[in-house]
């Protein structure tokens, strides 16, 4: 029978095993990264706010994500009365699946460092990630409660609106790269000798802002604005399902960061690849590990608890050993791409956390105004400018950069021309 033969062929296929392995690895790494992203966020936020953050679970609280996860797993899984039970239980799963499945198409490094490389990669990613909306809408709707419903509406409206701006920003990159495949986009940046962020900084800024909005993070975190809506669409969720939403949210953050890196920041490319005297940047992975070792050692020396000192010393030791391994030329060559990719992703994630620590929150109508009346016209103008310059001068760095910056500035000025300029007020004490 043809079907059984097909199945047999499918299974014996070498690439299938490889892909499965990769999927498992990516999933594991991603889950860990997401868990520790929460820890990182809490720590960075705390430091920016003159606090220490989690300190109680493990030395410097590094076991906090595990404790959180355990707590959420052990909590009662509540389904509110009157909820649409099936949909309620299904919604977080949709969110999480949509968030994780997208990572199949992301190139983490050159060659085999990707699960699959479809030639419509970017479209696939956009499509799959837009499925996450269903998790949000259905979760909010099925809770049978007002605040989640409003939260989910806001969330979905926000996602849809900002996807337009992000999509337009991406299109200008596609124009430059001449391909929909993510690998090809990175390779094109390598050929050009310049990352896309230098070709079209305006699009990068737009993408970043829209990305922040799409992940529902401050200053666009209205769906979860606790001072207005308590918890947004996941108000009624608890325990494991809440954890799923949480994971989906942070996975989406990682996704937006990864996409930004691939599209604008040269993916796995090492910075200054073409500059010869900076080629010692090649040793950055080892150096980073040594640096981590020093930092950990310093933490250990500061600690007053004996067990902590031992732990940190061991950790430092491990880092040094790992650095030694990494410093071997073959290994160094192999992990080069992945290392730089990770570094860039972490930098963007850090920026996301940084925004959260700094900015107030927009109001919903203002959020929509920013999306539709600022970002989309700006993205359109950037797209048009890029297209014109590509036809006119070809793919050359300087004209593209200049034209884009000038075009962007002009657009912003035109857009903000209607605003009253008397926004900056000051009050001096008046004696009368």
């Amino acid at each position: 029978m043809a079907a059984t033969q097909e199945v047999a062929r499918f299974l014996s296929d070498h690439s299938l095993v490889e892909a499965t392995l990769k999927i498992v690895v990516v999933f594991a790494v991603l889950s860990g990264l997401v868990a520790y992203l929460v820890y990182l966020e809490r720590k960075v936020l705390a430091f920016m706010q003159a606090r220490l953050g989690p300190m109680r679970v493990g030395p410097w609280g590094i076991l906090q994500p595990i404790a959180d996860g355990l707590k959420l797993l052990l909590k009662e899984d509540l389904v509110p009365a009157g909820a649409d039970r099936t949909v309620f239980l299904l919604a977080p799963v949709i969110s999480v699946v949509a968030a994780f499945s997208v990572f199949a198409a992301i190139p983490y490094g050159p060659g085999g460092w990707t699960i699959t490389n479809p030639n419509v990669g970017i479209l696939l990613i956009l499509g799959l990630s837009s499925l996450g909306i269903y998790g949000i809408i259905l979760g909010g709707w099925s809770s049978n409660s007002h605040y989640p419903l409003i939260g989910s509406f806001r969330s979905a409206a926000q996602l849809v609106s900002y996807e337009v701006a992000a999509g337009l920003a991406i299109v200008s990159v596609l124009l430059i790269a001449n391909s929909l495949s993510l690998v090809a986009i990175v390779q094109r940046q390598q050929q050009m000798g310049a990352w896309n962020v230098f070709l079209n900084p305006v699009a990068f800024v737009i993408y970043l802002i829209a990305g922040v909005a799409e992940t529902n993070r401050n200053p666009f975190d209205l769906p979860e604005a606790e001072s207005e809506l308590t918890g947004g669409f996941h108000t009624e969720y608890s325990g494991f399902r809440f954890a799923l939403y949480f994971m989906a949210e942070y996975t989406n953050m990682v996704l937006i960061a990864s996409l930004a890196v691939v599209l604008f920041l040269g993916g796995w490319l090492r910075p200054f690849e073409s500059v010869r005297w900076l080629s010692l940047l090649k040793y950055a992975p080892a150096a980073a590990l040594v640096g981590a070792a020093v930092f950990v050692l310093w933490l250990g020396l500061k600690s007053r608890v004996r067990a902590e000192r031992i732990f940190f010393a061991a950790l430092a030791m491990g880092c040094v050993l790992l650095a030694a391994v990494v410093a071997m030329p073959a290994v160094l060559e192999a992990i080069q791409g992945v290392f730089w990719f990770t570094v860039k992703v972490m930098a963007i994630l850090y920026a996301f956390i940084w925004y959260r620590a700094t900015f107030p929150r927009y109001r919903f109508d203002q959020l929509m105004t920013v999306g539709w009346q600022r970002l989309i016209p700006l993205a359109l103008s950037s797209l048009i400018v890029t297209a014109i310059m590509l036809v006119w001068t070809g793919q050359r760095l300087a004209p593209l950069l200049v034209a884009n910056v000038l075009g962007g500035a002009l657009t912003v000025l035109i857009l903000s021309a209607r605003q009253d300029s008397g926004r900056f007020r000051t009050i001096e004490g008046a004696t009368r």
Binding site: V44, F47, M48, A50, R51, T358
Partner: protein, 150 residues
């Protein structure tokens, strides 16, 4: 124009970002790891009450005169005494209901002999309401300070 340019290049937002970034230096951290490091309390702090004994003789300083009980009408201090043979008052019991205390210090002010004192101890939480009613021995010995371990 200057304003426009500042707005264009997001100067306002960048200034805020710079500020929060600069606060990441370890020296800016303000947290006290409370159970691990006990915060210093001011000398005049009004915390858990104590009934002072004479440092050398160990006899109570309280003369059972009662103004502390009258100073505050929340009725939280009950002084019991009996007359000795020479018609002097002798303190027998002294209860202090911490659950009603608002640590205003009026009773301390009223004490003419420095017997009743609000100490610097601030850990007065108990697991039961009854635990907040302190008798004389508790007031004289003071509460057992909580020890924290990791």
């Amino acid at each position: 124009m200057r304003e426009r340019l500042r707005e264009l290049f997001l100067v306002d937002l960048l200034r805020g970002l710079r500020l929060t970034f600069s606060y990441q230096r370890p020296s800016a951290t303000y947290t006290e790891q409370y159970p691990l490091e006990r915060p210093p309390v001011a000398e005049r702090y009004r915390g858990a009450p104590r009934l002072n004994n004479h440092p050398s003789t160990g006899e109570t300083l309280c003369i059972a005169c009662n103004p502390c009980a009258l100073a505050y009408t929340e009725n939280l201090i009950v002084v019991g005494w009996e007359r000795t043979s020479d018609r002097k008052k002798m303190l027998t019991t002294f209860t202090y209901d911490l659950s009603r205390c608002m640590f205003c210090g009026l009773c301390e002010d009223a004490c003419p002999v420095d017997a009743l004192e609000l100490t610097q101890d601030f850990e007065v939480a108990r697991y039961s309401r009854e635990g907040l009613i302190w008798d004389r021995s508790m007031l004289e010995e003071g509460p057992e300070p909580t020890r924290y371990t990791r």
